[in-house]
């Protein structure tokens, strides 16, 4: 039995996207575009202190019925968030303050008015009396005895402390031992569309309808129903077009619950559309890792071990469902990188501070871990007087060693890491850069070249998520494939397209399986009332899981189509083949349209005893649930102005492998877009807090999102080593682009100043940080001392 497409092989075709047309015409339907008769806008009164008791909330005269505090809403359940570990401490996070506020921006009251402007007017007239408490703003100091505490019932400020110990501690007793402190500072996720929620009670269906800009409506519905005390069949979550997420729209946030509760209370539709200031101050924050690590190596450059401490500044609360413990576990488990490092001894601290709660952001923890290990590798190379590239080449896992189990227990599956390294080196032309560096630049700038290697775990299933003690276990995805009476196809999936091109790639997969044209296939998502249960789009999982679910469901469907076709052709199923949207037998063919018509509306033509309909729901999980690993090497050339510290990227080359590509055009777009975000982390984006916990970047005037002049067009090379555990050999790739840029760029800047030994171990590498590091190193060199690590 053969399935072959009439003309095209859709797997691997750079099909132009089906979702483009509506956006190009301005027909996109984002959360703020949803029109609902009678809707009123919500503005939140937020804490302007980092840590305080709320003494009083005084509602304005004439506005008391439009201003809501927690006690004005019906009682709600607090969702316990974070891993299901007894050692993980509960940080009760109410939708509106329960008398204590723990970060600037925490919602205290909600004001409802016919327009946002009027709601903000009302919010301006709400008086809040706060009694300041000492703010905890440094995650390392927060763990010192005597530090003020966020939660009175906790013995210290750790959500959880943990450790990773693998390998022989004797390995650490090595001739080379370098200790470095590295920091990746706090940033926002900055989807260009901010968050938003619109909720109303639909009387016809007798249910709460929540329009939400989210990456995963089904999981949100579980949380909302629990928080509000409603059965899940009375809650419908609809995600319209979502204007970017990157992780920042993958947790339940207090505003989501508050607006839903308000809708239940006031009896008319209410909505809240986040503004950019709210987004920067009170949406998901990310990164904020501090590493104090010692790397050990033999004199010949063999890397042996990594020891030390990892601090995650997780902000004030755990966000449902999973909190931010995965930051610490993923950071520590990725600290061996792709190298044969046998010894790990790490203590990790996930620390509560008076800052906005941490959530996932593209790359989750791995940008920090990659930055740490790849900087350390360069530091060892500098110590040994070696070319950093050669040290990587010496220590990296080779193709012959794959699959390789790292010291932290991750199974690196397929690929050729050496080939990725070497092709990136050739693309960037390392010898030419070294030759260029031998002469001073005419403009006085210093040239540096940096490499970074990343792996990207994707498509990890049940076992991995259970190991992480995840509160929900996103170990599968589902697809409902429904052939209409005319033979066209509608597929509902539980993932959430928000820029990734699923309407195109999932249609390509179905087209491949069913020998149809993608134009005959509609992909639908984003509505809990119509789609089968799924976990949403995050963790580079959608092409593996949703792609697999579509493939599997289509195969189940095609078997039934074939049986009906054989019956209509009066032949045996084994003598049929599928081609060009028809079942072919020895003496003729019957189109899917005829078969679908019979299956749906002319069931007298079906084989005796066969159920009507062509409607299949299937689920999918890869055969290896530890995940499949995409990987790649980033190579970057920078020019740095030493006195101002301004960094320009002169060249950026990537050699990557995400297995089989369903749509190479979309893959390239994901890599380029991820790198732009990684460059933001490396050089520009930061939300600093002052010593009393005030956020210092609250507009795009002081939060620097890179624009077209700052982002180079990346030169891309693809290696293709298919995964063995997934459909078609795909690996997830959405996050990879964002992982390596901070490491590669910091290595390039350090390379430019390797002669004076300047350290660049903190992101973003703003002009001030770069120029100060150079200045420190110059002074130290002049004094004959060594600069602080």
């Amino acid at each position: 039995m053969v399935v072959s497409s009439s003309s095209d092989n859709w797997i691997g075709a750079s099909l132009l996207r089906k979702e483009d047309a509506r956006h190009l015409l301005g027909h996109g339907m984002f959360i703020a575009d949803v029109r609902m008769p009678g809707v009123q806008d919500v503005a939140f009164v937020r804490s302007d202190m980092a840590h305080a008791q709320v003494r009083r909330v005084i509602k304005p005269v004439g506005g008391t019925a439009q201003v809501f505090t927690l006690s004005d809403l019906d009682p709600m359940h607090i969702l316990e968030a974070g891993p299901e570990l007894a050692a993980h401490r509960h940080s009760p996070y109410p939708a509106l303050s329960d008398g204590r506020v723990r970060y600037v921006g925490q919602p205290i009251a909600a004001c409802i008015a016919p327009s946002r402007a009027l709601a903000e007017d009302l919010a301006d007239h709400v008086e809040v009396e706060l009694e300041a408490l000492p703010a905890v703003v440094d995650c390392v100091a927060a763990m010192k005895p005597g530090s003020p505490r966020l939660f009175d019932t906790w013995p210290d400020n750790a959500f959880i402390a943990s450790s990773v110990q693998e390998g022989d501690p004797a390995l650490a007793q090595a001739p080379i031992r370098l200790r470095r402190q590295l920091r990746m500072n706090r940033q926002a996720t900055v989807s260009l569309e901010c968050r938003g929620v619109l909720a109303h009670w639909d009387h016809r269906h007798d249910e709460l309808v929540v329009y939400l800009s989210t990456q995963g409506g089904h999981v949100v519905r579980i949380g909302l129903a629990r928080a509000l005390g409603l059965p899940e069949n009375k809650v419908r979550v609809i995600a319209p077009d979502v204007g970017g997420g990157f992780g920042g729209k993958n947790r339940i946030m207090p505003e989501d619950i508050a607006v839903a509760a308000l809708a239940l209370k006031v009896g008319h539709p209410v909505r809240w559309i986040e503004d950019r200031r709210e987004h920067l101050v009170a949406s998901v924050h990310a990164r904020d890792h501090f590493y104090d690590l010692t790397i050990s190596a033999k004199a010949d450059g063999t890397l042996l071990g990594v020891e030390g401490e990892v601090y995650i500044d997780a902000g004030a609360y755990s966000l449902w469902p999973t909190g931010s413990f995965m930051e610490a576990s993923m950071a520590s488990r990725n600290l061996t990188g792709p190298y044969r490092i046998q010894h790990l001894n790490l203590k990790t601290f996930t620390v509560a501070t008076n800052k906005a709660p941490m959530g996932p952001y593209r790359g989750v923890a791995r940008p920090g871990a990659c930055f740490a290990i790849e900087r350390l590798v360069d530091e060892v190379a500098r110590e040994l007087g070696r070319e950093p590239f050669d040290l990587r080449r010496q220590n990296i896992v080779t193709a012959g060693e794959l699959p390789y189990r790292t010291a932290a227990g991750m199974r690196l599956d397929t690929g050729d890491y050496v080939a990725a390294l070497e092709s990136a080196r050739d693309m960037i032309d390392l010898p030419a850069i070294r030759a260029r560096q031998a002469k001073p630049e005419p403009d006085g700038r210093a040239i540096g070249v940096g490499f970074a290697f990343y792996t990207e775990q994707s498509g990890h299933g049940t076992v991995e998520w259970v190991k992480r003690k995840s509160r929900v276990v996103p170990g599968y995805e589902s697809a409902n494939v429904r052939m209409q009476p005319d033979g066209s196809l509608i597929i509902h999936v539980g993932t959430q397209n928000h820029g990734q091109g699923h309407e195109t790639t999932l249609a390509q997969i179905a087209a491949h399986e069913l020998s149809l044209d993608p134009s005959q296939i509609s992909i639908r998502y984003g509505d809990t009332a119509t789609t089968p249960f799924g976990f949403g789009t995050f963790a580079s999982r959608s092409i593996v899981f949703a792609g697999g679910a579509v493939a599997r469901s289509c195969r189940m469907l095609i078997e039934k189509i074939r049986k009906i076709g054989a019956h209509l052709l009066q032949t045996d199923v084994t003598s049929t083949r599928i081609e060009a949207g028809a079942v072919h037998g020895p003496s003729g063919s019957v189109s899917f349209a005829e078969i679908a018509y019979a299956a749906n509306v002319r069931q007298e033509h079906l084989p005796v005893g066969m159920d009507p309909l062509l409607d299949v729901t299937g689920t999918y999980e890869p055969t290896e649930t530890g995940g499949v690993f995409a990987y790649g090497t980033h190579a970057v050339v920078v020019a740095v102005e030493p006195d101002t510290g301004v960094v320009e990227i002169l060249d950026y080359a990537v050699s990557e492998d995400c297995g089989t590509m369903i749509n190479p055009m979309i893959v390239d777009g994901q890599v380029q877009g991820g790198i732009a975000q990684g460059i933001g982390t490396a050089l520009y984006e930061e939300i600093p807090y002052d010593e009393i916990g005030q956020p210092l970047a609250t507009t795009f005037g002081d939060y620097m999102v890179p624009c077209a002049p700052e982002i180079p067009t990346v030169r891309l090379h693809h290696l293709v080593h298919p995964a063995e555990a997934t459909e078609y050999g795909v690996k997830g790739l959405g996050e990879g682009g964002a992982i390596a840029p901070p490491a590669a760029i910091a290595n390039a800047i350090a390379d430019a100043f390797r002669g004076i030994g300047a350290s660049f171990n903190e992101t973003p590498l703003t002009p001030r940080r770069v120029s100060e590091a150079i200045d420190r190193a110059r002074r130290a060199k002049a004094d004959g001392t060594s600069p602080a690590p």
């Binding site: 132009l16 996207r17 979702e19 483009d20 047309a21 509506r22 956006h23 190009l24 015409l25 301005g26 027909h27 996109g28 339907m29 984002f30 703020a32 575009d33 029109r35 327009s115 402007a117 900055v190 989807s191 260009l192 569309e193 901010c194 077009d241 979502v242 204007g243 970017g244 990157f246 503004d275 950019r276 928000h498 820029g499 990734q500 091109g501 055009m665 979309i666 390239d668 777009g669 380029q672 877009g673 991820g674 790198i675 732009a676 975000q677 507009t699 795009f700 005037g701 999102v705 624009c707 077209a708 002049p709 982002i711 180079p712 067009t713 990346v714 682009g737």
Partner: protein, 168 residues
């Protein structure tokens, strides 16, 4: 309230607006034209860019009252515009959009660039785009699309508008 008369996408619109109402909110909430998106509401991201009297303008920083007596074009009003059709085609073929939220503002800005520059090169387009944020694409394909559209423009661009800078 302030009485305003605006030529909106070629149609005369008369309304009474609060003096503080932004042009963006006027377009979106009072006129139902939701192609114009709001990404920051402080003039930094460019998602709300529209044309006012032929100049690319931040509608979030412009009051509706300031549009009185002026001509305003949004993406909805440029659906039949040949240059916009060319740009849409190249944005599609170059994969110059992902989530689509920045796209309307990008298209208006791109059209403005091609009206002011003949066959602009990569560097010119990047410089001119410095007021538009896209969080998904990393810009490469947007630049590629605009450069390609510039190459395909059938005629010389119309003379530049009177003001040297086009952003409000």
């Amino acid at each position: 309230m302030t009485a305003i008369t605006v030529e909106l996408n070629g149609v005369k619109v008369v309304d009474d607006v609060e003096p503080r109402l932004s042009l963006a909110d006027f377009l979106r909430d009072r006129c139902g034209l939701t192609a114009t998106h709001l990404g920051c509401e402080h003039g930094a991201c460019g998602a709300c860019t529209v044309m006012v009297d032929g100049l690319a303008t931040r509608s979030c920083l412009t009051l509706a009252a300031m549009a009185d007596g002026r001509s305003v074009s949004t993406l909805e009003g440029l659906r039949g515009d040949p240059l916009m059709a060319l740009l849409r085609r190249h944005f599609h073929e170059s994969h110059a959009l992902q989530c689509g939220f920045c796209t309307p503002g990008m298209l208006i800005a791109a059209r403005d660039i091609l009206q002011r520059h003949t066959r602009p090169d990569d560097k010119t387009v990047r410089h001119e785009l410095s007021g538009q944020i896209c969080r998904c694409t990393g810009y490469a394909n947007i630049v590629k699309a605009i450069v390609a559209a510039g190459q395909k423009m059938p005629q010389e661009p119309s003379p530049p508008p009177p003001a040297a800078t086009s952003q409000s």
